[in-house]
């Protein structure tokens, strides 16, 4: 349900993307708490001395005003709330948060408020800004974004037989959105089956019940970390039905 929007309105939002438009304008993409994904033109933002240009940069949390027009909306005013300074000054953090922002963008819809998604994105960025980045945090984020968009992976029952899974090594099916009992795996040759060992399953279940405070001290073998990473990334791409351009930057070490 989207509320009727006034012609001019103000909102908070995190800038996630900027593209040049024409000679001196920019298209700014923001994720907001009350209006979902917002895309607007910042007129003359590329010009020196523009009142808008400096505020609208990637990874800035801003207050802004926007005017709805018949074509693309126009961003008219902006003030900075804050701009994740540590992330902005660290190339690796910038690459990692680019993936996080892009996933949030792909799950966001214009004029479709998604407060839980905005809060998840903001809390994740805040957490990285304060404590740094970790694989656990990324997996927690990926799992939570699936859950809050109604795509919570089934981690307790086999999606084929609906039987409760016995402790052991099973498979994960992105098409079916959950675990498949290893006994049923060879019956379904048309499905993508990703290995999910017992420890991977336990890790996913733990993340699902976890919160930001609990995840940082979690330690898990690399092999299960990798299985989890593959399951979550393929699951996300299966749902959004597109590739994520910044994914290749996740493991770029500078």
């Amino acid at each position: 349900m989207s509320p009727a929007k006034p012609e001019i309105y103000t909102s908070r939002g995190i800038v996630i993307k900027i593209n040049n438009l024409g000679e001196s304008d920019r298209i700014i993409t923001l994720i907001t708490p009350n209006f979902g994904l917002v895309r607007g033109v910042a007129k003359s933002a590329r010009k020196t001395g523009s009142k808008l240009g400096g505020h609208f940069d990637i990874l800035k949390y801003v207050n802004f005003s926007i005017r709805e027009t018949r074509s693309i909306s126009q961003l008219t005013q902006a003030t900075n709330i804050y701009g994740f300074k540590k992330i902005r000054n660290d190339l690796n953090l910038f690459f990692q948060t680019s993936y996080i922002s892009e996933v949030a963008e792909k799950f966001s819809i214009e004029n479709n408020p998604n407060l839980p998604l905005f809060n998840l994105l903001k809390t994740t960025l805040d957490h990285i800004e304060q404590f740094g980045y970790s694989e656990n945090l990324l997996h927690f984020y990926e799992l939570k974004i699936l859950e809050l968009n109604g795509f919570a992976p089934e981690l307790y029952k086999c999606v084929e037989s609906e039987n409760t899974l016995e402790p052991g090594n099973h498979y994960y099916s992105p098409e079916r959105g959950g675990l498949i009992d290893f006994k049923y795996s060879n019956l379904k040759s048309n499905l993508t089956l990703l290995p999910a060992n017992l420890n991977t399953i336990k890790y996913l279940r733990y993340l699902s019940k976890s919160n930001f405070e609990k995840i940082d001290n979690l330690s898990i073998d690399e092999i299960y970390q990798k299985q989890t990473s593959r399951i979550l990334k393929i699951q996300i791409k299966n749902i959004i039905d597109r590739s994520i351009k910044s994914e290749k930057f996740l493991n770029k070490k500078i």
Partner: protein
């Protein structure tokens, strides 16, 4: 205005071609097209030859990747330029802006973009390896990084700095601060912060 409101295919084709150019909306595209229709044939020919000319005759300089008519551009082949300095810019138009100041007499390296993860553009898509080649083969004393002061430009600068810092070449960045003619009241936090950090002492002889 509907871009397809012309029923003559030849006219629609040109309107669409103009509309694909940066900064040209449907109205302007239509206005330019109708202007060309009224233009004397000689003038129209001259115009179309100029368009073809940039595709046939323009290439990229094999040293600095700037647009050029020759294999080596006018700046790189000019003996009066200071060949110990390279200024790294995002686009060829940035060279035009810097040249207008007449404050710089060194060489350039055009990256043809910036690192932009969300657009899938990484360092390998830019002319960064070209810059490294030049640093190894030419006698360069200073690299001036002049990418735009936005996150993606900053990230690109950081990447280049990391890459060339082991080479023991002086690396500098363009100073950032308040643009002339602007009001402090309207400056964003990072501009103001940079302006404060790079404040300079007032010279008595000014």
């Amino acid at each position: 205005m509907d871009i397809h409101n012309s029923t003559i295919p030849t006219v629609t084709r040109l309107i669409e071609a103009f509309h694909r150019l940066p900064g040209i909306g449907p109205k302007t595209a239509q206005r330019l097209t109708y202007h060309l229709i009224r233009m004397p044939e000689e003038e129209a020919k001259e115009f179309s030859e100029a368009v073809l000319g940039i595709k046939e005759k323009i290439t990229f300089c094999s040293f600095c990747s700037n647009i050029s008519q020759e294999e080596i551009c006018l700046l790189c082949s000019n003996d009066n330029r200071d060949k110990s300095k390279i200024c790294v810019v995002e686009e060829p138009l940035d060279i035009v802006a810097i040249e207008r100041t007449r404050a710089y007499n060194g060489l350039y390296q055009v990256l043809h973009g910036v690192i932009s993860p969300m657009n899938g553009i990484g360092p390998e898509n830019l002319k960064i390896s070209k810059l490294l080649e030049r640093l190894k083969s030419q006698n360069i004393e200073e690299i001036i990084i002049a990418t735009n002061p936005k996150l993606e430009g900053e990230a690109t600068a950081m990447y280049i700095e990391n890459l060339i810092s082991p080479l023991n070449i002086k690396i500098t960045r363009l100073a950032r601060g308040l643009p002339s003619g602007s009001d402090i009241e309207y400056a964003d936090d990072s501009t103001l912060e940079h302006a404060l950090n790079s404040r300079s002492e007032i010279q008595n002889d000014l």
